[in-house]
Symmetry: C2
Amino acid sequence: MRKEKVYISQETVKRLSLYLRNLRRLEKEGVRVICSDRISELLDVSPAQFRKDLSYFGEFGKRGVGYEIRRLIEELEDILGVNKQWKIVLIGVGRLGSALLRFEGFSKFNLKIELAFDIDKRKIGKVINGVKIEDVQRLTERVKEEGVKVGLISTPPQVAQEIADRLIEGGIKGIMNFAPVTLKIPEDVFITNVDMACELERVIFFLNNEGKVKTDSKLLS
Amino acid sequence: MRKEKVYISQETVKRLSLYLRNLRRLEKEGVRVICSDRISELLDVSPAQFRKDLSYFGEFGKRGVGYEIRRLIEELEDILGVNKQWKIVLIGVGRLGSALLRFEGFSKFNLKIELAFDIDKRKIGKVINGVKIEDVQRLTERVKEEGVKVGLISTPPQVAQEIADRLIEGGIKGIMNFAPVTLKIPEDVFITNVDMACELERVIFFLNNEGKVKTDSKLLS
DNA sequence: TTTTATTTGTTCCTATTTTCACAAAAAGTA
DNA sequence: TACTTTTTGTGAAAATAGGAACAAATAAAA
Ligand SMILES: NC(=O)c1ccc[n+]([C@@H]2O[C@H](COP(=O)([O-])OP(=O)(O)OC[C@H]3O[C@@H](n4cnc5c(N)ncnc54)[C@H](O)[C@@H]3O)[C@@H](O)[C@H]2O)c1
Ligand SMILES: NC(=O)c1ccc[n+]([C@@H]2O[C@H](COP(=O)([O-])OP(=O)(O)OC[C@H]3O[C@@H](n4cnc5c(N)ncnc54)[C@H](O)[C@@H]3O)[C@@H](O)[C@H]2O)c1
C-alpha cells in the first residue's frame, strides 16, 4: 500500500538506480524473476534493504516467489523518471566534458546530452557525437529556448559558479557538477557533486590507516 | 585529547578531503586563520560538524580564535595520508581514462598516475602526460614490480572484475572504479565506485518528483 | 485439501550520524 | 586583575538509517 507521506533518502535513490541497472542486465541474460536474496548476492545491499527501498513506492513482489523483472524495471523507470525524455546540457567540452559527450551509458536510457557549450573559439562549431558545440555566451538564452532542465558542469572550477548561476537563470533545476568547488544554489535546484579528488583521497585515507581499519567503512584510530 | 578507539565514518573522510581543498584555497587567498562558522558558510557543512570531524583526530583549534590554516592543512594532509607519495595505476586509457591521465587535479598533490594499461595495440606504447601506456597483459606483474597500491579502473564494465582481480593479485589495496558494475573484492581491499549514471539518475529523480520534494535531500511521496 | 517451502512487506529495535548546547579556554578591554 | 567576547571541544539528545524477525501471502508437494 502506498504511504501517505514518506521521506526518501538520497542513499535509497542511489540504490534504486543501482537496482535498475542490474535488473536490466539480468533481463538481458534471460532471467525473468528474482528474489531479494539473489539481488543481495549480486549487489552489496542486504535483502531487507532492497525490499524496504521498494516498499516506499509500492508492492512490486509476490510472496513466496520474488519480483518479476520486467515489471520491476518498469516501476523503477517510472519512479526515477527515466522513462521520460530529459534534455541535458553540458558546459565545458574539455577532456572530461568530451568523454561525457561521447559516453553512451547516459544516452542509452533517455538521458541524452543535447546541448554543449564552451568558451574556446576553436571548439565552438565542432560536432561531437551529433552535438554541435555552441558559444557559452548564449548559454542562458539557449537553455531557456530549448527548455533544458538538467546541466552538467565540466568547466574549470574558477568559472563553475558563474556557469551555475546562468544555468539556473535559464531554468535549470538539476545540476551534476564535476568541478571541485562548492556551488551556491537556491533551495529548489538539486545538485550532485561528482568529486573524484575526494574519492581518491578517501582511498588514500584507507591505505594510510591500514591495520587500524576495522570494517569496509570504518576506521579505528 | 586523542581518543582510544574511534570509528571514522566515510562521510567524515569525504568532508576532511573537502576541508583540505578549501583550506588550501583560502591559504592561497592569503587567509591565515579561520573559524568553523566561516567554513560553514563556504562549504555546505554545519560548524558543529566541522569541529566534530576534526575532534576525532585531535585538537587543532584555539578557543576564542579559530584554526590556524597552515597548521590545519598539515594535520589534514597527515590524517588523509596525502603528504606521502602514492603510486597510482590506471587501467583503460579510453575517453574517460585519458581525461584522468591528463588531469592535474590529482598529480598536484602527491597523487600521480604512474602506470597506465590498455588492451588496444594502437594505444600501447603511446605516452600521455609522461606516462607510457603498457600492455594490460603484464598488469599484475608490473603492479607487483612497482609496488603500486592504488588502482583506477576505467575499462568497459565487462572486463572490470577481471582487472580488479589482477590488480588485487598484484597487491593493490585501494580501487577507484568508474565502470558501472559492483565488483567483488576481499575485505582488506578498499573500493569506491564513481557511478556517474547513478548520480545523473538521482538528479532526474529529483526533477521527476518536483513539488513533492521536501528538503535538499529528502523527498515526499 | 492440508501441509510445507518460500519470500515478501513491515514493524520494531539497534546502530550510526548529526545537531544542540554549554563549559572551558583564549584574548582583548577596562 | 576582573570582566566581556569569542569560539572551541564534547557529552547528551535528536534524527536517520539499517537490520532482524516475523506474520501474511503464495506456490508447490503430499
Ligand atoms: N579531467 C579529469 O579527469 C577530471 C577529474 C576530476 C575533476 N575534473 C574537473 O572537471 C572539470 C573539467 O576538467 P577537464 O580536465 O576536462 O578540463 P579541461 O581544461 O580539459 O576542460 C575545461 C573546458 O572548459 C572550457 N571552459 C573554460 N571556461 C569556460 C567558460 N567560462 N564557459 C564554458 N566553457 C569554459 C575550456 O575551454 C575547456 O574546453 C574541472 O573542473 C576539473 O577539475 C576533471
Ligand atoms: N566516458 C564517460 O564519460 C564515462 C562516464 C561514466 C562512466 N564511464 C565508464 O568508464 C569506463 C570507461 O569509459 P570510456 O568512455 O572511457 O570507454 P572507452 O571505450 O573510451 O575506453 C575503454 C578503454 O578500455 C580499454 N580496454 C578494454 N578492455 C580492456 C582490458 N581488458 N584491459 C585493459 N584495457 C581495456 C579499451 O581499449 C579502451 O581504451 C566504462 O566502464 C564506462 O561505463 C565512462
